[in-house]
Symmetry: C2
DNA sequence: TTGACATATTCCCATATAGGAATATCTTAT
DNA sequence: ATAAGATATTCCTATATGGGAATATGTCAA
């Protein structure tokens, strides 16, 4: 088997930095394709292709406006990424260390409790 | 150009679900390869290959222990993912809507203030 | 030393890019 | 109708998979 398609899920779609940039721009508000082309400095066809991937995973919605197509962010498909990565926050954030210590302490007391019965 | 290598960064490494599973297992503590093989139900060579990718992006560390190699999680490379996706939390979390309303309200009052001077 | 155990690497293959270039499609203005 | 503008699609190519199978490497045990 080959690598999963970029359109498989948000994880794959967002692995491409250019697509993250596009989402970052759209986070500021709805925009037509040419705006993105100008802001990104990327050829128009590539932008359209990236937008297609983002559309297929539901990260952007489109609306027709005359000859322009207005793209709008839809962050919801990012939630699984957020949920997954969130549980790892403690591994790099020292702020959790203190909490971990407390929890370990409680756990130890609990075990002592049990052994004393 | 082709798609970026899976070893380019954590975004790409973690786009593969099996690698996320491996990290999830290692989050419970250090483990030798064969443990992961058994727990994942995946052929050993594939596990070793996934571990190599994870090692190359720094998501796991290895330690030799006799004929086993103990793998340990290192979550730090996930921080950029967390940081990036965190800013989108408000787009799906309604809990932020109330906050947004408050901020809009404050902003409006501020603007009114300015115009009254 | 030899064999068993644990892990890593290599080879093969079907598949999917991402970007560049060219072109097609759709809409509005004249 | 025709041209111009905005966007999407197609074709091409180099590259990188992920899994399966076979094999190599490294280490301990008898």
């Amino acid at each position: 088997m080959a690598r999963a398609a970029t359109t498989t899920d948000a994880f794959n779609a967002v692995a491409e930095p250019r697509r993250r940039e596009i989402l970052d721009l759209l986070a500021r508000g709805e925009r037509p394709v040419n705006d993105l082309v100008a802001l990104l400095g990327v050829a128009q066809p590539q932008v359209s292709k990236h937008l297609r991937v983002l559309r297929e995973v539901g990260l952007v919605d489109v609306r027709d406006n005359g000859r322009q197509r207005m793209y709008r962010l839809n962050g919801e498909p990012l939630k699984p990424i957020h949920d997954w990565v969130k549980s790892y926050e403690r591994t790099w954030n020292e702020r959790f260390d203190a909490l971990d210590d407390v929890l370990d302490e409680l756990k130890r007391e609990d075990e002592d409790d049990g052994e004393n019965r």
